[in-house]
Subunit: 549 residues, 2 copies
């Protein structure tokens, strides 16, 4: 896969420059490129304890994205997934630290321990007050001698950063940071690995597989599992938390996007976690948001912090750092009643008519049966949902069949229009709704079926803005309705099928999403809406799908 970069060697410095450019002048960097990559607050207060963190890059917004008032004073950025050098850490300490001293927040990796540790020793030798807190929140291996530091580190940044701006002493800042580090546990799950920009992706996982307890550097997980549904996954993950976290009655939860999980998934998983027994004790939720990522890994980590009043106040304190996923109190969902006046007309009186019910059923079943093939056809020229749109509408109609006014053709058409307007999304759905509503109105004026359907076609052209030859369902619907007058249903079905077939050679779509495609992408593919119309008329006429003439 291609990546949006310049030179691989300039990955981190280029990115830091971009961060600074978009920071509104709140961030600065040290003049130490390429080796020394230190981001610091443009305005530092030497009277306050400096809170400094950092580590390998590739975890953005961590760490440089958390530099700002009430959080970090400076961040030291290593290469992607590699600890920064001792000199880089030392430069950050010297640049950001005043008489109040500094706290180094270090994730528990050998490299970070060594580099931050040696830098701290050098700084102390130069007369600077330095304290260090190690974060080792990963519970993937419960009996690991050296648990990793992962997203729970964010809690330490925020709480130590808040203590520092409230003029706490270095000892006090270090103490609350250590208390936080001791009260947080994290666990990650992912369905893909991380790809370093400029490299090729690795495919370690089979379809449907996930890794539980993986690291934030692409390290394999402790366990490879078949990914369960979100609710079951949330239970499985939350059951692994133990000790202080499991014992706490009041928790904060950070739902961290490891990179490329979609927002939909993140929101689904957040709800699933809050619905578990452990989740029920969450008082504050942070995210879902990318906070400590692993490049583009498709995964998520959960970090739980056992709260007390002091930690909670520090988490809730306002900060001007854009990347900080604000802590919000968990509240019961607010559900409002549907507004009055949503249904225009009263429901029509149900009635039974075998022929009408049979015709409606035949069309609906044919469209439901064609869902996958219409989706596949649409995937080539659009967004792949035509089959689901028609099938969704058909299911809603079938489910309501006994409540329809089957014996009153005009009322039946209007009721179909009403139901399709409610159940079917997409332009096809609403156009079908318009079609049936207009046809129903025409039928109640006493016109014939062919004339009524022609009225429906007219309104579809008005609202949708398409005409014949524009590669839409009209290319099947218009000839079908015309043929109906003279040749009956079978002629209409054959005309619809011919019309649908003709769309395959139409070089340009006049409307809808296909209109954004080049002619070469369209060539040879029938318009899925037109095919759906043909299928419907074939079902009405009792012909097999795509029947030859």
């Amino acid at each position: 896969m291609a990546h949006f970069i310049n030179e691989r060697s300039g990955l981190v410095t280029d990115a830091i420059d971009g961060l600074l450019a978009a920071s509104g002048g709140t961030l600065a960097r040290l003049d130490g490129y390429p080796e020394i990559r230190v981001v610091l607050r443009a305005e530092l207060d030497p009277g306050k304890v400096a809170v400094i963190s950092g580590g390998g890059s590739g975890h953005e917004p961590a760490h440089a994205g958390f530099v700002g008032p009430g959080m970090l004073s400076a961040a030291i950025c290593g290469d992607v997934f590699a600890s920064p050098s001792v000199d880089a850490v030392l430069a950050g300490i010297l640049a950001a630290t005043g008489p109040a001293g500094c706290l180094l927040v270090v994730k528990n990796y050998a490299g970070d321990r060594l580099n931050f540790g040696l830098a701290a020793e050098r700084a102390r030798a130069a007369g600077i007050k330095v304290e260090t807190v190690l974060v080792a929140d990963d519970i993937a291996l419960p009996d690991a001698a050296q648990p990793r530091g992962i997203a729970g580190t964010l809690f330490v940044h925020k709480i130590a950063g808040h203590a520092a701006v409230t003029d706490a002493s270095l000892d006090a800042v270090a103490a609350i940071a250590r208390r936080t580090a001791g009260a947080v546990q994290s666990l990650g799950i992912a369905v893909s690995t991380a790809t370093i920009p400029g490299s090729s992706p690795e495919q370690r996982l089979a379809e449907g597989e996930a890794e539980l307890g993986l690291g934030i550097h692409g390290e394999p997980g402790i366990e490879r599992i078949t990914l369960p549904k979100a609710a079951a996954l949330a239970r499985q993950m939350t059951e692994r938390f133990s000790g202080t976290v499991a014992a706490s009655q009041r928790l904060a939860l950070l739902v961290n996007n490891l990179g490329s999980a979609t927002a939909l998934e993140m929101q689904i998983l957040t709800k699933a976690v809050l619905d578990t027994p452990l989740g029920a004790r969450v008082a504050l939720v942070l995210g879902p948001a990318p906070a400590m990522t692993a490049l583009d890994m498709h995964g998520v980590s959960l970090s739980f912090l056992a709260l007390d009043d002091e930690l909670e106040a520090a988490l809730l304190a306002q900060t001007d750092v854009p990347a900080w996923p604000r802590a919000r109190p968990v509240a019961a969902p607010l559900v409002r009643a549907l507004p009055d006046g949503l249904r225009g007309a009263p429901e029509p009186t149900p009635s039974h008519d075998a022929a009408a019910a049979g015709a409606v059923t035949a069309v609906c079943e044919a469209l439901i049966g064609a869902e996958a093939s219409l989706n596949a056809l649409d995937a080539k020229v659009g967004d792949g949902d035509t089959g689901s749109t028609f099938a969704g509408g058909a299911r809603a109609v079938l489910g309501d069949l006994d409540r329809l006014p089957q014996a009153d053709a005009a009322a039946l058409c209007r009721a179909l229009g009403e139901r399709l307007g409610r159940a079917a999304g997409g332009s096809s759905g609403v156009l079908m709704s318009i079609f049936f509503a207009a046809a129903g109105s025409a039928l109640s004026d006493g016109v014939s079926w062919p004339t009524a359907l022609a009225r429906g076609v007219e309104r579809v052209r008005d609202y949708g803005g398409a005409g014949p030859g524009d590669r839409t369902m009209l290319d099947a619907l218009i000839p079908a309705v015309e043929a109906l007058e003279t040749g009956g249903l079978e002629a209409a079905a054959r005309a619809a099928r011919d019309g649908a077939a003709a769309t395959a050679s139409m070089q340009r779509a006049g409307t809808g999403r296909s209109s954004y495609l080049a002619a070469s992408d369209l060539a040879g593919h029938e318009d899925p809406g037109a095919v759906a119309v043909a299928i419907a008329f074939e079902a009405l006429a009792g012909l097999p799908r795509g029947a030859p003439k």
Copy 2:
């Protein structure tokens, strides 16, 4: 690929529930599941114009994530990539709109036009004041009859939302919204398509390819290109902007992550865009951030808005909506001088010694030559950077060769330690730094080479916490240094190679990232740090790499 969901059919409602749960009680929804999915502010002020938007889901945080004070009053959520139904839109209008009326912000797609348009007509028939603004900001096809609405829609949300909270009339809100829509242009680029959670990914693009001018629903781009470097891409994209935007001397820029581009790439591209002629006229930058996504598409869109004082003030106005990518003034990067005291000792006096230079050169060149193979080995058991760490250090040393005190062994060792501490990240880098620093100090105490190197080994064990058998470079270094005393360089090289080979059968790593792996993942793979040590000793001894005994 597996996804973090429950049922595919509940994708959108489950996600909305998660959004609400994490909203701190600021958001509510209508009781219309599954068809009617409307998110609205928990507290609506009927005295102010309601600003309502929506469309297909899959674009999160758009649209529901932008519901909040100063932005949207309500968002209507369709299925993934499908417009919401007329009834859903109508429900949102009825629920969110008071006597001041409402503005519908509609992206220019046939489905949205139809559904929002029909709903607006029904609402008007019920006596509600409704205005509609269409956003058609996509410039992928400059002569398109119906340009799409993409991320530029966010500017309309923010500016109309701000006008509404300042008590502007419906006409005034609609007017500024239309002015904004007329002053914004957007263009997207992506290197992967979007995958709907629960579906399998489609691979439309070859390695190194990108699509320019693609849509936010997975529609193919207008042009398939070989992705250039970020700077060239930024020039190529910005040159396509025209009309109002190209003529404006003061622009706002939204850098929108379409889904899974890494933060590193987004920051790099932001800087690249700001460095173009068009970018030089950007006064306000928003993002980089996910704002109008296409699920997990790896891509980015640029939206430029021609500013005037009124639009700028509305963009800068404070809003409490977490997903809003705050507008920040573009400022020159702040670069601070490196702090004094960073270099402990003064630079040693350079000197020349052919043997020392030859030895250093041989080792460095061997390590540079092994970069790719060591990275590949490390990718199996760690994060794939060992080769680059050693090669990076080697390049820094080679580049400084003439400034090294070649003729003074102790000073040379200390200088190597100093340079490796500066240039090489990762634990291997700092351990090598410690190794040479300690060896240098020992040499200046007058001990022999083997004894000095043994002192280095001792310090590496102290700081790194590993010992023999822990699957680290020590497993090659310890036997090599021991063999040096009795057998000279060639024996040392063979001992190092044997030690490296032995790591392949060590079932558990005692330290470093490999320690998080299961035995089965380690089996048969040599530790890359140990192999690097073997390569270095072989180079010193003049043996070919991996020479047989």
